[in-house]
Symmetry: C2
Subunit: 159 residues, 2 copies
């Protein structure tokens, strides 16, 4: 890896950088950032001995400029785990310097090391820069629609 770029696992010393960058990503995606309670849960979950996700920060010239979070899913058809890249983000001022590319490659290496058959992720349909980036990395778009049921919806099924 390049000498100016360091990818470090999130721990109690750098966790605040992660929280700050997650808020930036949410603003960029026009989605609701974590509120105070969500931040508290995120801090607790990130530092658990069995965290529900993995998180790494990218430091460019010693400044925290990007991050990834991922977890493992499972393909019943392949009988193998997949790595799902939940978030990948590079701060606006640090773009076009290959940071995203290094974070993405880091994930692919981790997926291979863990015996995954695939790496998967989703992207907002209007985020053309991200789509261009993912396709340049070899990602293939699948013909799937993504669906969600929120907490109210889940509770509604119980009535």
């Amino acid at each position: 890896m390049r000498a100016d770029l360091v990818i470090s696992k999130v721990d109690e010393h750098n966790l605040q950088h992660l929280l700050h960058l997650i808020e930036e990503l949410a603003r960029f995606e026009h989605l609701a950032p974590p509120d105070r309670q969500a931040r508290a849960r995120l801090e607790r979950d990130a530092l658990r001995s069995d965290p529900p996700f993995s998180a790494f920060l990218a430091f460019l010239d010693s400044k925290p400029v990007g991050y990834i979070t991922y977890y493992f899913t499972y393909s019943t058809f392949q009988g193998r785990p997949n790595l799902f890249l939940e978030d990948i983000f590079v701060h606006e001022g640090a773009r076009q310097r290959g940071v995203g590319r290094e974070l993405f490659r880091f994930c692919a290496q981790e997926a291979l090391a863990q015996g995954c058959g695939r790496m998967e992720w989703s992207v907002l349909d209007w985020n053309e820069n991200a789509i261009r980036f993912y396709e340049s990395m070899g990602g293939k778009r699948l013909g799937w629609f993504f669906y969600r049921l929120d907490e109210e919806g889940m509770k509604g099924l119980d009535r």
Copy 2:
């Protein structure tokens, strides 16, 4: 729940029913079913003490007619886990009898019990019956594209 329908956790006694139904789902979706090696991995993983996915079978009048598999993902914006429904399938001969609905409700209850903020899943864009079903259960389609990098693609990034 209805007296004619039983939802049972997959274990060593009923695992072969699960494998059979997974193959049926793959054929229905025109996707590659698990090959011999994948079946062996799936059997091993399903029976691990810390399985990478949860699996339940639906028995209608004591016959295995459907199944679900799911795992937990994580929303960094919500600071909460989500339940991701990987597979939901009801054998053709047992459709229109509410089995899918009960399996789906079972998942939503499990998601709530585990403190999830959301239940999520994906659906093939041509599967109109499934889409109609999911929307009848309150599912909302999101504006995301789904991307994948296969093993070759991951290895290619390493060169």
